[in-house]
Symmetry: C2
Amino acid sequence: MPKKVDNHARRKLIAEALVRVAAKRGLEAVSLRHVAEEADVSLGMVQHYFRTKDEMMTFAMDVVRDNAGARMAGGIEPNLPPKDLVRALLVQLLPLDEDRLLDANVALAFFAYTAVRPQAGAGLRENTTQLRDFITGQILASRETGDASPRPDPVLAATALAALIEGLSIHVLGGHYSAEEALAALDTHLDTVFS
Amino acid sequence: MPKKVDNHARRKLIAEALVRVAAKRGLEAVSLRHVAEEADVSLGMVQHYFRTKDEMMTFAMDVVRDNAGARMAGGIEPNLPPKDLVRALLVQLLPLDEDRLLDANVALAFFAYTAVRPQAGAGLRENTTQLRDFITGQILASRETGDASPRPDPVLAATALAALIEGLSIHVLGGHYSAEEALAALDTHLDTVFS
DNA sequence: TTCTTTACAGTGCAGTCGTATTGCCAAACG
DNA sequence: CGTTTGGCAATACGACTGCACTGTAAAGAA
């Protein structure tokens, strides 16, 4: 066997360049050439690691999802009460700093992307399902300890919570209001869920 | 003066074709030629009514916003209690039928579009601001009549409500769950806001 | 009537797109 | 040592893009 290269690292390098292009100029500006330029590699190399553009897109989506997942996992401190735990998770999805703003921007673009390509959205769907399930569990846990009044359906409450951060993120991205306002809205909502 | 044509009607005709293309195949499939074909007119005509593609896009965005606004206005019955009024409004933004699904799809695409072109998002921002203000007013009104416990900040509650339908719409578009589930989540949230 | 102005249709152009193809180079194996 | 083979660069190609330009038909103004 000839030269040995870390295949996965190269793909990630390219995918991250794609993310930067998409965040700065939109998904429609993502072309093989632009990505190659942003990654400071040749077009040929991009083609070597991704046989088709769609393959590159899909991989980049997975990288973004992994980023978000890792951030959420990193925000967790065990033994936190359910409410704080959920909050710690959701805050990681809000564009509160430059990094998260970049990712949220790309995530939004991918949402629009998968809305027209249903088969490409499987990963996204899995993510929200997991998030919803986790939140549901935490709501139930909080009720067991008697912290919350057991009024509304926990699954629906979790659904609303997951949708809420999504909507807040989008509004912040669109410049409708500041990230701080979004955070405040999230907090008041959390208060009502974990009353 | 020569031939007299309803200029605005023609522009709307073209913009609606654009919306159909965007909903079916995504914003990136929106080209002058595709729109012309969908509208069953010539490329030359599209160019006659829109000097640039960006001008066409902006106009189409306005049409979609008008659609949504008209729907919301149409859903209103006066003398409704605040909660039902707000619900009637927000329901119009959920993709519960084919028409609203189409518009929501395009709206999502435009959100992603404006996230990278801030100057094009002014209209969108105005829309959510108006919606937030209206909801805020209704929350305050409901409290005056004593229907609600006056706990959380009404502005933040309105912000959350507006963000919530946005997030729910997106999740429904992505096939993460059904429109009925989204509606149920909205209702439980409305119950807590207008307790 | 003649003239002017609008409302298109058609074509051409320079640039970009994704992809296929070709070829060179260096490293590992026999 | 050669030979093979993966890693990459470069180029070419047909399709498509937004836009500019030209031509033509028709409807009012003079």
